[in-house]
Subunit: 345 residues, 2 copies
DNA sequence: TAAAATTGGGCAATCGTTCCCGAAGCTTTA
DNA sequence: TAAAGCTTCGGGAACGATTGCCCAATTTTA
């Protein structure tokens, strides 16, 4: 098997005790300059590397953090995970990623698993199905650091990293309105999620500002966030079947936005002539779609980074944290062809 | 801090020794049925979970595997990593991902880092710059299990997971030829990489089969795999400046393929009318590009899965492995608009 | 009825590291 | 000159779990 030198090997080779080696290497204690030199040089020579497992055992830390997201095959989350990994890697933490696939039951199982792996903290974006968050509250009270990101929980007082969903949705909807669309439908995620409700409110507020009366038929739910392709197809078909068919679509998340285009094409609907499209997505290719997509883009990478920085700081803080931070990032609204004016002004 | 019950806590609470608890829980030893019941029920009650760190320390295993890729922000690698994670997660392994950004020096540093983390094995896809692979040979000889995937090393006898690059490139090139293109350029990655050379050979063989003489000017190298946007722009501009400008492009990897379209558009080149395009990419959105892209698609997820399965089997095998497996996956050639016929037949 | 076998469970070493407590040997001070 | 202080280092107990070895009590066997 692959074995490396331990502190004990060095002690034996140099005729010193393990404590001396440890201290000489850490430089934390009064050890003779000669001994320090001897030890460090020998350690260098044999390529000594402290065993992180032993360190963890002593320090009562696993040096791993658990991540809960709905799925990684999602532009937003894959970018966020990138940010998470980058910070964790540089701070010497493992990242254990779990996917809920929008199921509350799987979320529970995942938390169980992460706990059994003795994670030092949790980075959580709720599943669409989750309504009972009491176990997060319990974990928090037991002292487990938790940072919610993107899909946060309003009820639990802990760190939160997300965006101004109301404003982002408001602006995107208003862009469609300003481009001449009046019959704007909204495909949203489960109303369990705060972000769905906030985005819906932004949409409604934009309609109201421009004196467009809200049509209940124009609001369609994909309770699994569009993860099930069938679900999104049904949603779109419902809208298309409406006697007063909408002329624009505002979509609430990554899966739904990128999923719409193929479905509309399959139905022979031209974008944006028959149906305009604007929505949340972090796809790097939105510009190269046919037509290019009007999107709300979140700083996913930065959000993942910040959430992880906060979590690690929280883990490594001596005293239990009393003050919780909430950070809202700015989003970017990028106007492209899919929301081009329906009418010539 | 977040603390959970240990075997010692249970022993104290039940007035038994830690060995009894351990054996009662593992069921491996002669322990009275009553005691077993008592212990298991108590453990259940307090939600006891064995500390994986302590287990690792005893077993001399970190339960982590190191991954070396050029970058994760690449459709192929992100999908492969997905496969890696899924297998590792289910087998109780951590995955530590490192990126070389095509630099040989960073690859060395990454290996150093992974070694210092005491990984149990390595999953490697070479950087474009790497030529000296002697340290992999040394690690292998020291007993560290290594699986190469995608960008394999021909010289080292260990497990390998990749595709039939020659055939995939041959077929893609032939598709362009069959569609009426005769002046086919090839943008390739560094010739350090075996996969670049194999794909180049496939391209050349297809030309030869159809009696098209190879023009050296039509072969352009992006030595950093198109990771530097400037590099790819230069490559394309060189081709466009040619007196006898090519009418089709065959591209060797994910970054280069998806990078071409925006650059060509910026130069006012129409695809496929002015320049056809076919190349390797695993983008899920290739179909929705304008124009839709003709691609060679690799089973990235499955490749990641298989590589990890082989690695973990290798790690957990009692005896050092003598037999090394080499697995070549089938690729998929998907014909779309970007390679549509230049001439009406 | 005494010896042997079986059953049930404890002791202590081990993994690699840190860190509290001494313990020498030397120098300084009163 | 002896006590006190400083420097430099070692012993050994943790951390949480496993496991070989041993021991006591009970049951079986001769």
């Amino acid at each position: 098997m692959f074995q490396s030198y331990t502190i004990k090997d060095i002690a034996k080779a140099l005729g010193l005790s393990t404590s001396t080696i440890s201290r000489a290497l850490s430089g934390s204690y009064k050890i003779g300059a000669n001994t320090v030199k001897l030890v460090t040089e020998y350690a260098e020579k044999v390529n000594y590397r402290p065993n992180p497992i032993a360190l963890s055992l002593k320090a009562h830390k696993s040096h791993s953090i658990g991540v809960v997201v709905c799925e990684v095959a999602n532009n937003y989350f894959s970018q966020a995970i990138n940010g998470i990994e980058s910070v964790a890697y540089n701070s010497g933490y493992h990242v254990i990623i779990t996917q809920t696939h929008e199921s509350a039951a799987r979320e529970q199982v995942n938390i169980e698993h992460l706990l059994s792996r003795h994670v030092d903290g949790l980075l959580v974006s709720l599943s669409a199905e989750t309504t009972d968050v009491s176990f997060y509250q319990e974990l928090k009270e037991k002292g487990l650091p938790i940072v919610f990101f993107d899909r946060i929980v309003p009820g639990i007082d802990t760190h939160k990293v997300y965006i101004d969903n109301f404003k982002a949705a408001f602006d995107a909807t208003e862009l469609l309105i300003n481009n001449g669309f009046k019959k704007i439908a909204h495909i949203t995620n489960s109303s369990n999620l705060l972000i769905s409700r906030e985005r819906l409110n932004g949409y409604l507020a934009a309609l109201e500002k421009h004196q467009i009366t809200f049509d209940q038929d124009y609001l369609v739910y994909c309770d699994h966030g569009g993860m099930l392709i069938h679900e999104l197809e049904t949603a779109i078909d419902e809208l298309l079947a409406l006697p007063n068919r909408p002329d624009a679509l505002f979509t609430t998340n990554d899966r739904i936005t990128t999923g719409c285009l193929p479905i509309l094409k399959k139905r022979g609907i031209k974008v944006p002539d028959d149906m305009a499209l604007a929505g949340f997505t972090n796809s790097d290719f939105a510009e190269w779609f046919a037509p290019s997509l009007t999107v709300v883009r979140q700083p996913a990478f930065e959000m993942g980074k910040l959430a992880t920085e906060i979590l690690i700081k929280s883990i490594e803080s001596k005293r239990p944290i009393e003050e919780y931070t909430t950070h809202q990032f700015e989003t970017e609204l990028i106007s492209r062809s899919s929301s081009a004016s329906a009418i010539a002004f």
